[in-house]
């Protein structure tokens, strides 16, 4: 079954491991397949921050950012397509955001380290954030304040940006920061101050921006040049733990728990607990494991539906595993496979209610799976 997380669990600390026998609670069928281009697609994401666009999604791959819409009957409509003039750009990540007026933005980043804020409401580039010293591996949006995005980079830093004003507000790096590429980052769903990040130093870190919140607020009213903003360094996380023994390439909050994934063929749900005596150094209570066979290469990211009922993750062989997240023990909702889907799935996108699963693959294809249970 799942790989070992490196820890042997003491008596009474063992996690509940999900069984790989599918419950077939839901049945999904391929309804569309798209060859976007020749270059690998690294990210695919639904818009969860604006109910008008719940069926709109974006993909990135190569120097291209594309906006699609899922229509009835498996139809996928292309709404917008953006191409970076730099042919060497290779986007790794995209996230939906919007300005304070609710104009939708697609925020993308990649190997060049430049974050592109695309104004999808006006079909033009809104801003470009130059600052990261190396590739941007993931961008996420704060749902409560969708002008705030956070980016994880190979330069070992995590940065908080205001896409509305174009300000780099905070840099999470330094003495207590990551010691290798940061691969993934996520905002806490309810605690607006918290983020979790993980990366190639095998750690997961939780950061708090509570003390720096005035700067976040200031960023909304800043009228001077963005470069003059007093960007602050957050050097120490409030929590630091080695949950995995290898690269941690995706982490997401599930309430106050964290879902994270390494290259060990499983997703792990665990509770971060802070030791009283040594603040910062964390204890991990691993609660559940969601096995994902053949998922042992890094840069495979999973996705959840809006309500976090399920998680969908692809694997190296083009299969998708959908787990019921909040049942204990975990239930495998469905295992999706198709004879032509053989390429590693870099990321999945789960629609608002989980009825549609999208995947984007190394070979440049987009797959659409629809719930056909009824």
């Amino acid at each position: 079954m799942g790989g070992e997380t490196g820890k042997s669990f003491g008596l009474g600390c063992d996690p509940v491991v999900g069984s790989l026998s599918s419950s077939r609670k839901r049945e999904y069928r391929v309804t569309n397949r798209l060859q976007e281009g020749k270059r690998p697609l690294y990210a695919i994401v639904f818009n969860f921050i604006d109910s008008r666009y719940f069926n709109v999604f974006a993909t990135v791959g190569g120097n291209r950012v594309t906006v699609y819409q899922c229509l009835e009957g498996g139809v996928i409509a292309v709404l917008q397509s953006y191409v970076d003039e730099d042919k060497d750009e290779s986007f790794y990540t995209v996230s939906w955001a919007c300005n304070v007026d609710g104009i939708p933005y697609a925020v993308a980043g990649g190997i060049n380290g430049v974050i592109r804020v695309i104004d999808a409401g006006n079909e033009k580039i809104h801003k470009s954030f130059v600052g990261h010293g190396d590739s941007v591996n993931e961008i996420r949006t704060q749902t409560l304040k969708p002008s705030l995005v956070i980016s994880a980079s190979k330069d070992e830093s995590v940065r908080l940006w205001n896409v509305h004003t174009g300000i780099c507000i905070l840099i999470f790096a330094g003495a207590g920061g990551h010691r290798n590429e940061v691969l993934s980052v996520d905002f806490h769903p309810s605690d607006i101050y918290r983020i979790a990040s993980c990366g190639m130093d095998n750690t997961v870190k939780i950061w708090s921006m509570k003390e720096f919140w005035t700067y976040v607020e200031k960023s909304f009213t800043w009228t001077d040049l963005p470069s003059k903003f007093p960007t602050k360094y957050v050097q120490f996380p409030v929590y630091n733990a080695s949950v995995h023994l290898n690269y941690v390439d995706c982490n997401r909050w599930l309430g106050d728990f964290i879902l994270s994934k390494s290259v060990d063929n499983e997703i792990v749900l665990w509770e971060p607990k802070v030791k009283e005596q040594t603040p910062g150094e964390g204890v991990v209570d691993i609660l559940q494991k969601y096995p994902v066979p053949e998922c042992d290469i890094w840069f495979i990211k999973f996705s959840c539906d809006f309500h976090f009922n399920m998680v969908a993750v692809g694997n190296r062989e083009g299969k998708i595993f959908i787990w019921e997240l909040q049942s204990s023990p975990p239930v495998l909702i469905a295992r999706l496979s198709h004879p032509q889907s053989k390429s590693p799935i870099r990321q999945t996108a789960t629609s608002f209610d989980g009825s549609t699963i999208l995947s984007c693959c190394e070979d440049g294809t987009i797959w659409r799976w629809d719930d056909v249970t009824n």
Partner: protein, 852 residues
């Protein structure tokens, strides 16, 4: 549940007669049962936890949902502009029909047509790559948790998608030591149950250890600790009650040292900051050398500080009696007075009268009058020699020209500085006695060591130029006499809490015997001026502190004496006082290193040797003595307890640092602009403005804002101080990281990351990869315009970057970063062959791409 502690007594143990097998059989069974129960409980626990968490999340998400669904509406109200994205929904660029529900395999949607309608994102030049780094204006010692030694690190090769584990040898792979087993709650339960019911014996232990982690020894210990805890739980309530009081504010019962604990432990006296990242905390206690200039308004000028002021008393009583001495005193215009009450415990060597906190140039004479009851004036001329290395222990040798008979004894040379010190101290006293009515002038040459373990005080003895005024007793003595009667009995000394007493002593140290200032600044709210004064004169105070045993026999006033400045030195001193800033510089410059006027006392009981200082073996200095211009022969310092090994090369390096400033011009301001006094600039951070910009060569580069001349100091190269072992490891990692990105490999990448400076004296390497300053971005060149030099600054080794030639404004900086053949750490020697064999990855190699 853990069984109640009371069980332990009452529970019937297994009968000795019972067959061992039976007992063990039931034990295994019971443990298994318990285990199952524990696991079942765990499952329930997790389930509940997840449910609770889920509910909370659900509740929250519905809130988010409402925000999300109003997003469009608020926008249309405010802006009236419908996003193109919305209109695109009605008019998409194109549509791809899905598969028919049956046959999915046939059609293949292709998107190539799209490129025509794509919106261009204009090119933006990317930054040269860098890793996030922290600006450091001073070097830092590596924090423990930053070590890469013994840690597995995984690399991938972007082209080959091959992950490599970077740990060089088997030896490093093996975990240094078995971690101590941490018992989980469940394990506690198992072993508690087992031992409580079956007793603590080997058989039971064996069985238990099958179920519970940890060695049998650990298990036994754990059992004991649980037992204690359980028993303790019963007693707890009663214990708690006693404690809760106090702890509000300062507890006057605590000693001052306890109150100052965090100050003592966290304050770095070398950098004058808390939480020093270079020297660490809990440094051996070094008392601040700077005896603050004792505040001494001439007594006669003082106004009563309050109606509780002892002056109120004094004014009446002493007026006539003291007029003489007061007048004399005023003539003297004492500006600086030093109180050398022994403050420290008896083993402490008290420095006789250091005049001030200001770094006075060494050539200032300080003529002090000893406040003895035998009228005597001892002018002490002091020189402080700040030791270069801060670590040298120097045996004072006396200047050859000292001719004074009265001070023969001072010539004693001893290896042991401590004894020298105390000896010399005695000598002074003896001298004083000998020459009772003669003026004695001491030129005391102080060698200051930051090592904190001792200072040497070298009184050398030019005698008697100062005409001394027998009437020049301080008024204190008399005052005290006159006052004592008055104030006596007003307050009983027993009212003084330990903290107050110690605060008082500090006050005496700071303000002299000025009760007004002491009361106001240190004991406000605790004691009035009058109380302080009466305490001061009641005598008992200084008793316990009569550290200077010899002197106490001579000086009646419990070993106290005030050093006052005589007229002679006032001109120079006051001038210096005026230009405080300047003098500071002068001071530093005359000896190239040394922390501003640090001399220290040793706290007894404190560590006598200071680990972080590396005493250097032989430092030679030529120094001129202030007025006489006498040449002090080389001070040859040898350290008995030097625990750091120094290489000869380093000494040379240090000497280089030392030379070039200060020699021959002690006490004189260095002429500006010429003769670079390099480490002074480092100390004062008088650096050039460095700009960071894209290099003309590759990657980032450092540029100069303003033109500089040859040998000008440009700035300090700062970074993390790491051990050689750490450096080797990191070097490999940096190499590895670079070699993974051959397309990035350029001078910048290979050089700046690797720019370690070897501070081999200290067995440290400077690594600027993640922490440093902009100079780390200077590129390598075989024809450089800068050079780096290791200098000793205030006891710390630092790397200064200097101009090798005239450099124009906004020119890029280069240094030749070449290792000397023997200086290069192993990894810098281009281990061509070694790279391959490290790639054996025993476990868990991660790949980004599928292997084909």
């Amino acid at each position: 549940m853990v069984s109640k502690p009371t069980d332990s007594a009452s529970k019937p143990r297994t009968q000795p007669g019972e067959s061992a097998n039976d007992a063990i059989g039931t034990l295994s069974f019971k443990i298994n049962q318990l285990k199952k129960q524990i696991q079942a409980e765990r499952v329930v626990y997790i389930k509940e936890k997840i449910q609770r968490n889920g509910k909370k999340l659900q509740c929250h998400m519905s809130g988010v949902m409402s925000a999300i669904s109003t997003r469009g509406s608020s926008q249309t109200e405010g802006n009236r502009k419908i996003p193109i994205l919305s209109s695109r929904i009605d008019h998409p660029l194109c549509k791809f029909n899905g598969f028919s529900s049956v046959s999915g395999d046939k059609d293949h949607n292709n998107q190539d047509a799209l490129s025509a309608t794509s919106i261009k994102i204009p090119c933006i030049e990317r930054l040269p790559p860098y890793t996030s780094w922290i600006f450091l204006d001073r070097n830092q010692r590596m924090a423990e948790d930053q070590s890469v030694v013994g840690r597995r690190r995984i690399y991938y090769d972007q082209h080959g998608s091959e992950a490599l584990i970077c740990s060089d040898s088997e030896e490093e792979l093996t975990e240094p030591e078995e971690e101590k087993h941490e018992f989980s709650e469940a394990e506690d339960r198992v072993l508690w149950m087992a031992f409580e019911e079956y007793g603590l014996n080997d058989e039971v232990l064996n069985i238990v250890s099958e179920f519970v982690g940890g060695t049998s020894l650990e298990i036994q210990e754990r059992y004991k600790s649980i037992k204690e805890k359980n028993i303790g739980r019963l007693d707890q309530p009663s214990e708690n009650s006693g404690q809760s009081e106090s702890t509000i504010g300062i507890c006057p019962e605590k000693s001052l040292s306890a109150a100052l604990d965090s100050f003592d432990n966290l304050f770095c006296r070398r950098c004058l900051i808390f939480d020093c990242r270079l020297h660490g905390c809990s440094q051996p206690l070094i008392y601040p050398s700077e005896k603050q200039t004792v505040w001494s308004d001439p007594e006669g000028d003082r106004k009563p500080c309050s109606d509780q002021c002892y002056l109120q008393v004094k004014v009446v009583k002493c007026l006539s009696e003291d007029s003489n001495s007061c007048g004399a005193e005023q003539n003297k215009r004492t500006t600086i007075m030093e109180e050398t009450d022994g403050v420290l415990a008896s083993s402490i060597i008290e420095e006789p009268s250091n005049q001030s906190s200001l770094p006075f140039p060494s050539d200032v004479d300080c003529h002090g009058s000893l406040n003895l009851n035998v009228p005597i004036l001892v002018s002490v001329e002091k020189r402080k020699v700040t030791d270069q290395s801060d670590t040298t222990h120097c045996d004072p040798k006396l200047p050859p020209d000292d001719s004074q008979n009265s001070c023969k004894k001072l010539k004693t040379i001893s290896d042991d500085v401590v004894t020298v010190n105390s000896d010399s101290r005695k000598d002074i006293n003896l001298c004083a006695r000998d020459v009772l009515d003669k003026a004695v002038k001491h030129n005391s040459d102080k060698l200051i060591e930051s090592s904190s373990t001792f200072h040497s005080d070298e009184p050398d003895k030019s005698i008697g130029d100062g005409p001394k005024d027998p009437t020049n007793k301080t008024e204190f003595k008399k005052l005290s006499n006159s006052m004592e009667g008055k104030v006596d009995g007003m307050i009983s000394l027993s009212d003084w809490k330990p903290l107050e007493k110690e605060l008082y002593l500090k006050g005496v140290e700071m303000f002299g015997r000025n009760s007004c200032l002491i009361a106001r600044n240190l004991l406000s709210g605790l004691k009035t001026c009058m109380e302080v004064a009466s305490y001061m004169h009641s005598g008992g105070v200084s008793m316990p502190h009569g550290s200077i045993i010899a002197s106490s026999s001579i000086m009646e006033d419990k070993g106290k004496f005030d050093v006052e400045c005589t007229d002679q030195e006032i001109p120079s001193r006051s001038r210096l006082l005026r230009k405080r800033g300047k003098t500071r510089k002068f001071k530093y410059s005359w000896k190239s290193a040394g922390h501003p006027s640090i001399w220290k006392r040793i706290a007894d009981g404190k560590n006598q040797s200071c680990k972080q200082y590396t005493p250097c073996g032989f430092v030679q200095k030529a120094a001129k003595i202030g007025l006489e211009d006498a040449i002090v022969p080389r001070v040859n310092a040898e350290v008995d307890n030097a625990h750091a090994l120094l290489q000869d090369g380093n000494v040379t390096q240090m000497s280089v640092g030392i030379a070039g400033c200060g020699d021959g011009s002690l006490g004189e301001p260095p002429r500006r602009g010429e003769g670079q006094c390099g480490n002074m600039r480092l100390l004062l951070r008088q650096q050039q403005r460095i700009l960071l910009a894209k290099s003309d060569v590759a990657g980032w580069g450092a540029f100069l804002k303003n033109p500089v001349n040859k040998n000008d100091y440009l700035g300090e190269y700062t970074g993390e101080l790491i051990s050689h072992r750490e450096a080797d490891k990191r070097g490999k990692i940096y190499d590895r990281a670079n070699s993974s990105f051959l397309f990035d490999l350029n001078d910048q990448a290979s050089i700046s990351h690797h720019l370690h400076f070897l501070l081999s004296c200290l067995a440290y390497v400077l690594d600027a990869y993640r922490k440093g300053d902009k100079l780390k971005f200077a590129n390598h060149s075989s024809n450089p315009n800068c050079y780096a030099k290791v200098m000793l600054v205030a006891g710390d080794h630092r790397v200064g970057i200097f101009a090798k030639e005239h450099i124009d404004a906004s020119e890029e900086l280069f240094y030749d970063y070449r290792y000397g053949p023997d200086q290069a750490p192993p990894w810098a020697r281009k281990p061509e062959g070694s790279k391959r064999d490290e790639s054996t990855a025993p476990q868990g190699r991660a790949k980004k791409h599928q292997s084909h």
